[in-house]
Amino acid sequence: MERIPFRKEELKVAGQTINLGRGAYPLFSTPISPRENYLMFLRGEEPLWMPLARDTLSVTPAIVKDNIARGFVFDMTGFDPNKDGGGPDMFGVEWEWVPQVRGSMVRPGNPKVPDITEWEDYIEFPDPDSWDWAASAEKNRALIEQKDLLLGATILNGLFERLISFVEMSEALVAMIDEDEQEAVHRLFDRLADFYPKIIRKYKEYYHIDILTFHDDWGSQRAPFFSLDTVREMLVPYLKRIVDAAHDLGIYFELHSCGKNEMLVPAMIEAGVDMWNGQPMNDKKMLVEKYGDKMIFGAYPITIDSSSTEEEVREACREFIDTFNSYRVYGGFASTMMAAPGVRESLYEFSRIAKCGRAE
């Protein structure tokens, strides 16, 4: 690919993205499409700019009941979480939409599975073959046919999160290390490792996705929920099967895992995860230096907020690109791109210049 130098005209608006419920946003006059650029990056080639979270459209369609239960439907059906969020997920667990949080939770105190060792008595696995994927895809045809941006899909409630939803948090944590309960957790994760690929295959067949985001929070603000050894024993074998299923279909695998989970990165690598967009409390510089040849990391200028001036935004973005341009890093979290005006433009401009120079 020719290293086309940056021209200021590239920041002219050339069109708009599809609105998946978070609003449409402008497309720049980029020399190649953001999707093309992102795919170069994912293949391990040098892109023309650092891919940004806004270079992906990530769909969570209403056909998957989890997305309705979590109030997290982002597709072209005009879903309103305040009206339709909450209710049963695809395993029949009841979620409660909390408007002021803009998210859903399972109200504690009445777990779907009272005893994890007997989960088979309470849980019936859904059958994605019985859902009308063709009708879902038809509603989202324009999204699927667009080729400007990378197309992704998100699976909410990964492995550990699914366990939490069944037995509640404290019980889920204990079950991960209690020798009397671990066997039941292995049985559950084994079934889930067979089940999730069925959904991934539907996303491939009907949505032609490029990337899958798998949502499984593994930590709190100060530390992981569990040790690296526990993750290796309880999660990696099953996560790897899910990752492998995605890779077999030519789909890249992004792990979304909130918390200070940097010490769990070796487990992510062992599972074959392509990229992790960790929260800012993780030391991204350390991570890219230590593991940057094995996995891609999401990072972003964390000093920017809504009170940042135009000058502060540009300086933060310049410094960010100086720090991370030489690593396999993408500009993560769409919300950061909206934190203050000009973030996306500045990141694009500085990374374009860093990678390809500036036109005379």
Binding site: V101, M105, S170, D178, S220, R222, A223, F225
Partner: protein, 211 residues
């Protein structure tokens, strides 16, 4: 290894099946039940708390240790002559109104209970009035208020304000915690203490009671 050390080791390792038998053996050997509780279990939980703070162990290990201690206390209780003899005070703990998160609050309950308090767990989504009502009990020494969300921090403020207006406010300490909470915020809303994790919460609560 002495019997007390064996109990402490089993509690630290979360061996809920072993602890009751060891406690029985210790009682049979004539060891003072209060010593079994303090040296064999509460001290062991302090070690667990320290290890948790230092990221040597994680939440599940802390939970199973607390569970093991609970099993031991069940065996010990008849020999202790009733709750009043062992409790160092009562702690009322809950998550504020509008917030359904319970893990942080549950961990605090476990660690505070393991530190020797009697705990009244108010649950999640607790209105300020409920905290105030529970704090009327003269045995209450600690009121713990939890919030996980930035959006429920105002509810924490309202709860602490309501507690601060209680006529018996001098009788208890208000402690706050949760992911978005900071020392500055705790001071701003008039709480007595902020702690970053459950283990620290338990040790600060103990210090408050010790005066």
């Amino acid at each position: 290894m002495s019997k007390l050390e064996e109990i402490a080791s089993a509690v630290e390792r979360g061996k809920a099946k072993l602890v009751p038998g060891l406690v029985e053996e210790a009682l049979d050997e004539g060891i003072d039940p209060v010593e079994i509780l303090n040296k064999g279990m509460i001290d062991a939980m302090s070690v667990v708390g320290e290890k948790f703070k230092n990221n040597e162990i994680f939440v599940p290990e802390m939970l199973v240790a607390a569970r093991a201690m609970k099993k031991g206390v069940e065996v010990l209780k008849p020999s202790l002559g009733g709750d009043a003899d062992v409790s160092i005070g009562k702690a009322v703990i809950g998550t504020v109104q509008g917030d359904l998160h319970d893990i942080g609050k549950n961990l605090v309950c476990l660690m505070v209970e393991s530190a020797g308090f009697e705990v009244l767990d108010l649950g999640v989504d607790v209105p300020a009035e409920r905290f105030v009502e529970a704090a009327q009990d003269p045995a209450v020494k600690i009121v713990g208020v939890s919030a996980l969300l930035t959006t429920t921090m105002p509810a924490m403020k309202a709860t602490v304000e309501a507690l601060n207006a209680a006529p018996n406010r001098a009788d208890f300490k208000v402690m706050v915690g949760g992911a978005p909470i900071t020392q500055e915020f705790a001071e701003e809303i008039g709480a007595d203490a902020y702690t970053a994790d459950a283990a620290t919460c338990a040790s600060v609560a103990k210090k408050f009671v010790a005066g």
